[in-house]
């Protein structure tokens, strides 16, 4: 089986799994005052320090959460709530955010009566910074928070976060960035980016599912989503998941330490995959920014084919990939990212995402290239029903 869906989830790194199991055997609530509690707390704090160091942050800025989605929700809603006033009630987002951000912002609009501005992207999926400057010139004082992802989860395009944060800083607006696809895959330095908040997720970089973190500058207030025992600077209550946190730190540390070498390896494999898909299916359209993108991401539209049908045929041939963001009922909707990039609805429905990860080898690419032409031929016969 060739697994080319590492952006959905990637296997745990052996050292992260070891750290998890080792820690899970130990007793202790990190909030307890006795010896077992202190041992657990020490594991958490060391993990916090390792993650902070790996990402250019201070330990006190790291808030552990139960997922990347939670980190995004906490940042977007929490910062909005803490900064909103009758005069300041506008959230700025982009047209290509993951649902963890997009739906949180939409909820603020629908349920909390926030005004929402959405920044457009160009045909490569890059956020339009000129539009941002215009928007801030007009609405600057009325904006609570600006959120923009570091790297797009579908087409892999990297965003100019530092530039965006600099533009926003001139207006005193905190910037949150969903860096869930970026951490461990491209260089990420929280302090240098100028962002106020940054979300990461464990299972996208070799850590466990059910772990995530929000890195939040100390001078930025966030109203909590969860109230309870007051853990994590009283911003995120709930007993700390000590083994999950230990494994997350192990994974972040490893992914960041090996990022430069690993991203070169993946980019070479990816470029080979792209070249061979183009040779095998000449009409295929390579989406996203061809240069400034995640090293393990290749995203194509196959005109005249339905992404769903291709996925099923490749699955039957032992190749696993994605059509885009899955939705709750399993019904494929045209990708909002591709639509925002100006792709027409049919091409948006005809897309597949192949994502490479740490276990990926040339054999996986070979399997895809072998199976794809027949899948495309059949899917084309079935057409866009």
């Amino acid at each position: 089986m060739a697994y080319l869906d590492h952006a959905a989830t990637t296997p745990m790194l052996p050292q992260a799994l070891d750290a998890y199991v080792r820690t899970a055997r130990a007793l202790g609530n990190a909030s307890s005052l006795h010896g077992s509690g202190r041992t657990a707390r020490r594991t958490v704090e060391e993990a916090r320090e390792r993650i902070a160091e790996a990402l250019g942050a201070k330990p006190g800025e790291v808030i552990f959460t139960g997922s990347g989605t939670e980190a995004d929700n906490l940042a977007v809603k929490g910062i909005h709530w803490s900064r909103r006033t009758p005069e300041r009630n506008r959230v700025v987002t982009t047209a290509i955010e993951h649902h963890a951000v997009a739906d949180a912002v939409a909820w603020l609009g629908d349920h909390e009566r926030a005004d929402v501005s959405e920044l457009p992207v160009d045909k490569l999926g890059r956020v339009d910074t000129a539009a941002l400057a215009e928007l801030l010139a007009e609405h600057g004082p009325r904006i609570t928070v600006l959120t923009c992802m570091w790297a797009n989860n579908e087409v892999g395009t990297l965003q100019p976060i530092a530039e965006i944060a600099e533009i926003a800083a001139a207006h005193g607006i905190p910037v949150h960035t969903d860096a869930i696809q970026a951490v461990g895959h491209v260089p990420v330095d929280f302090a240098a980016s100028g962002a106020a908040g940054l979300a990461l997720s464990g299972h996208k970089l070799g850590g466990p599912t059910g772990t995530g973190a929000l890195i939040l500058r100390r001078d930025v207030k966030a109203v909590p989503l969860l109230h309870g025992g007051g853990q994590e600077r009283e911003i995120r209550s709930g007993t700390l998941d000590v083994p999950g946190i230990a494994a997350l730190a192990e994974a972040v540390g490893h992914a960041v330490r090996t990022q430069e070498v690993e991203s070169q390896r993946l980019a070479l494999l990816r470029d080979d995959l792209v070249a061979r898909i183009r040779a095998a299916v000449p009409e295929a359209v390579y989406n996203g920014d061809p240069e400034s993108r995640l090293p393990g991401n290749a995203h194509f539209s196959f005109p005249g084919c339905e992404g769903d049908a291709l996925l099923m045929l490749l699955d039957a041939a032992g190749v696993e990939c994605a059509t885009g963001s899955a939705c709750s009922a399993g019904i494929a909707q045209p990708s909002h990212v591709l639509l925002a990039m100006g792709t027409d609805a049919d091409d948006a429905r005809s897309s597949l995402r192949f994502t490479l990860g740490w276990p990926t080898t040339k054999a996986d690419v070979d399997a895809l290239v072998a199976a794809l032409p027949e899948a495309v031929r059949r899917a084309k016969t079935a057409g866009l029903s």
């Binding site: 769903d308 099923m312 045929l313 699955d315 399993g330 059949r378 899917a379 079935a382 057409g383 029903s385």
Partner: protein, 368 residues
């Protein structure tokens, strides 16, 4: 795989027969959340989850195919249009004809599959004919009678030889959690089962008269002729009883002037039925022949002389039928107690005529 017991067992049987099977659940609404939650529909998220779990247990891949747009165009819009025209459609039959054994079958064939397997209760004979299931209470050959020979050739019905209660027992034995799930009866896209409300919501309300067909006397009013069906007795809301004290039935519906005519049961009598262009599942006949016809799902069977003429079928019934609605299918069967009655042809009912006691033809019981 609807998420019900029948399609789950059908899939399991197809696997057991040695086929390479893939489970497919059809998403028929763009917003599945809006469909019914309590009663069993065919398109809820719960049903999709049940279907997925059945596929897990059977050990086959499972996918959801989005047929919402096609379903809306070919089944739901047709449902509205037929009622608006004063006819009574059968959406399950339309779904078989346009979705399950058309859009789904075509897509499956193009993707490299050989057939569509469903949990319908019907048999396919060695002669390739569609035949009634052994379980007379569950037989669904009527709603499959509209298929063309090509569609039938691409379908498999593994449950036709088994009574429903045995299918449930088999599901239990196979460890399928849907074994005890209740059957679905209502129209899947009408969330609360309120067909009249569903139609009013789309087609609107408009005050009209309910008239005695014989005397022309206005007996009452209604708020839209599209919510009635020929032969309907209940829900007329008539305050004045008939002279003879007997119940009154809907005899005709005229959408143009929003008029509903009622009268005694005897006036619903039908002896001759005309259909639109027939679909032949058996070899096409040219002259009159003796057969049995069925006029609605799970309805009575009538011996008849069937004559292909003027581009349709005419069925001269040997015993009268009552309350035949245009828009339903007339399915022609060749009786066969041993192998199951075989479907010869079908056509959509356009008009039905009765005979008066004197033998002269009465007015149309169902309008064209």
């Amino acid at each position: 795989m609807s998420g019900g017991v029948d399609s789950a067992v059908a899939a399991a049987r197809a696997v057991e027969a040695g086929h390479d099977v893939t489970g497919v659940h059809l998403a028929l609404s763009k917003n599945p959340q809006t469909y019914r939650t309590g009663a069993r529909g065919c398109c809820t998220i719960e049903d999709s989850r049940d279907a997925r779990r059945a596929a897990d247990v059977i050990g086959i891949p499972f996918y959801i195919w989005d047929m919402a747009e096609r379903f809306h165009e070919d089944v739901v819009e047709d449902f509205y249009a037929e009622y608006a025209a004063g006819r009574t459609p059968n959406p399950c039959l339309r779904c078989n004809e346009k979705i399950k054994f058309a859009a789904v079958l075509d897509r499956a064939m193009a993707l490299g599959f050989d057939a569509v397997v469903t949990g319908h209760y019907a048999r396919k004979g060695d002669d390739g004919l569609l035949r009634r299931a052994v379980d007379p209470g569950k037989d669904q050959s009527y709603v499959l009678g509209v298929l063309t020979p090509a569609q039938l050739a691409g379908s498999m019905f593994p449950l036709g030889d088994t009574p429903k209660d045995q299918v449930r027992v088999e599901a239990e034995t196979r460890g399928l959690a849907v074994a005890k799930k209740p059957d679905s009866h209502d129209i899947c896209f009408i969330a609360d089962g309120d067909t009249s409300g569903f139609l009013k919501n789309k087609l609107g309300t408009k005050e009209g008269e309910i008239v005695d067909a014989a005397s022309g006397e206005v007996l009452g009013s209604h708020d839209g002729s599209h919510q009635f069906t020929i032969g309907q007795r209940h829900g007329l809301g008539l305050k004045v009883p008939a002279a003879d004290g007997k119940p009154r039935y809907v005899l005709s519906i005229t959408p143009v002037d929003n008029r509903v005519e009622v009268g005694p049961r005897e006036a619903l009598r039908v002896d001759r039925i005309r259909t639109g262009a027939p679909v032949w599942l058996a070899d096409e006949r040219t002259g009159p022949f003796e057969a049995e016809v069925q006029l609605r799902a799970h309805g009575e069977v009538y011996p008849a002389t069937v004559t292909p003429e003027d581009g349709g079928l005419t069925a001269q019934l040997h015993k009268p039928a009552f309350g035949v609605a245009a828009g339903q299918a007339l399915v022609v069967y060749d009786p066969d107690a041993a192998q199951g009655d075989a479907v010869l042809a079908s056509g959509t009912i356009d008009a039905a005529h009765g005979l008066t006691a004197a033998g002269a033809e009465s007015g149309e019981a169902a309008r064209a």
